[in-house]
Symmetry: C2
Subunit: 346 residues, 2 copies
């Protein structure tokens, strides 16, 4: 490692690749032209990549191309992927954390396959029982880290405690001036509510939080996720996935209903002109591309998953997320936080 | 029973009772002044009730007052309620389905206590393993029935199948011209996704749906709840509660963000005047008071829970829901649907 942050990019993963991937890298470099501490290891079809890199005038001292021959398809299943994808851009972009000097891997490809290969090549951190998928979610004050978003259908108290420490580490890496405030998602805020795993995790997190890795806000209900009082929301992968997608669906339902209402009268059509800038601001604030990028936590190397269907702007936000994760020293923060879990149980 | 629909009202439950409760009844009678088939059994403080009934000019042939002396407090726990609440308006309003002629009970009081007393007095239907709490939720086309919303933290496949049949019966009772379309909430739409209980319920519902009680749409993800393709959304009580409250929180977050954006520029403030009617229409469509009322399904008598903090308009919508449940012959529809569960397994 030469002091730079080295991001491995699976340039062939996701819709419209490698075009949006390289354009996303280009957007990142334009917005951060003063920063001299970033370098890209790019994995994919050499001919295609070179053409796009030239088109976007990306300086040759900013990247290295690692030619690969195959691409993991969306139809590939995690069961057969290990056998079928050894030559793929995804596989090599992950393995470059071991064979080359990459610090982090970014892919917009098949999520299940990315998870399985990452887990196999990078290995799970010894003290972590299950890795988790964490995402970003807007709240009234800034941003939440929410996990698990679907890596583990069933979770016990040990998993929930691991997720809390890893989520707090991620929050601190991304927002160094802010305190992580952990809450467990539940069907009530009283300590007697919920499953046995939740109750046990609650009791243990109260003890662990004295180490100061995070503040512990106890249980919160679904309607408090976005109020900003907590910023690390912990739950099992089944509930987390349903909550995230329900929020996405509700957001779409409400903005669609609003559009229909506004389009329904001539006066309100007229008003759209006046409120153009306000609506623009509103849309920008909640633009899902800004929250693009889910992070696999609990592996010995960090891996970020971009939405497959996002565009260059969305991919740029994932690149930026990778940069901030390494800049914020996520892996050491996780190690430090996890060391507190069993400390006072000795 | 004299051919009328007789609704028992716990007039003392919830904030601002009995004022909103009696005003809600009054609103119902005003909107349905042509209907001569409804009668109210009212439970609460006789003096207070009489004063409010006179104030709202409710005809004396529309109600009977059953005087009660105590009220279940919000602090009462389900554990101690059975002992403490035998003289309460809530208790008597439920028990009037057995001792008097009430067809259905409506309360805005303590949810946990209402559930425990209802279950004890009315008893669970023999073939149902666990009763569930069902709610209404707007979708792109009309309305969803969603259950369980929190009565059961953990559910097995038998429970999910019961919920599907009971939810389909409720949908048919409320929307007689429409076909119930059942879907199981899951983290993916493929048959291999999710917990073992979900997979088993999926296989069995595919078989049962040939009886024609409902169409079965398989698994859906959280972002499809509101698209209107399914209208009976079935899940365990933990997930259902989190999904409902996450949707509520997201709706609030988005409308708050929109208000802030619109209030931030002079031009857009001006535009609010032009779009007044459009915003009014939008707010009316999504007014949560229209969806006020959760239904306990699986007991031998129907019980509806109104939000404790709703106003007279919200309470009116719960009264209307009670009326439609009995008019739609819910209890016989449930009986009929449940009879199909084990039929072809013989």
């Amino acid at each position: 490692m030469n002091g730079k942050i080295i991001i491995a990019i699976d340039a062939m993963g996701g819709e419209n690749s490698p075009y949006k991937n390289i354009e996303g890298v280009s957007l990142f470099l334009k917005k951060n032209y003063k920063k001299n501490d970033v370098f890209f290891n790019l994995f994919g079809n050499e001919h295609l990549l070179r053409r796009e890199l030239i088109k976007h005038k990306i300086p040759i001292d900013k990247y290295k191309i690692f030619p690969t021959n195959t691409v993991v398809s969306d139809e590939e299943t995690p069961l057969t992927a290990i056998k079928n994808s050894k030559e793929s851009s995804m596989w090599h972009s992950i393995n470059s954390q071991i064979l080359s000097n990459s610090n982090i891997t970014l892919s917009a490809g098949n999520t299940g396959v990315l998870f399985v290969i990452s887990r196999m090549l990078l290995k799970t951190i010894e003290s972590v029982s299950k890795p988790a998928l964490a995402g970003l979610w807007p709240n009234e004050k800034n941003m939440n880290v929410v996990l698990d978003l679907g890596a583990n259908v069933e979770c016990d108290e040990k998993n929930l405690i691991d997720f809390s420490e890893m989520g707090a580490a991620l929050y601190k890496a991304l927002f160094p001036n802010d305190t992580p405030k952990v809450a467990l998602l539940n069907i009530g805020s009283e300590e007697i509510k919920g499953t046995e795993s939740l109750k046990k995790a609650h009791a243990r997190l109260k003890e662990i939080s004295i180490h100061g890795d995070f503040e512990f806000n106890g249980f919160i209900e679904g309607n408090k996720i976005t109020n900003g009082e907590s910023n690390v929301i912990v739950t099992d992968g089944f509930t987390g996935n349903i909550a995230l997608k329900t929020a996405e669906g509700t957001a779409k339902f409400i903005t669609d209903s609003l559009k229909k209402s506004l389009a329904s009268t001539l006066l309100s059509k007229f008003s759209i002109i006046f409120s153009y800038f306000a609506f623009k601001k509103f849309k920008e604030k909640l633009d899902p591309r800004k929250f693009n990028g889910a992070i696999f936590l609990g592996l010995k190397g960090p891996v970020v998953k971009s939405h497959g269907s996002t565009d260059a702007v969305g991919f740029y936000h994932s690149v930026d997320l990778c940069y901030r994760i390494i800049k914020g020293d996520l892996m050491n923060k996780i190690k430090n936080n996890l060391s507190h879990i069993n400390e006072d149980a000795k």
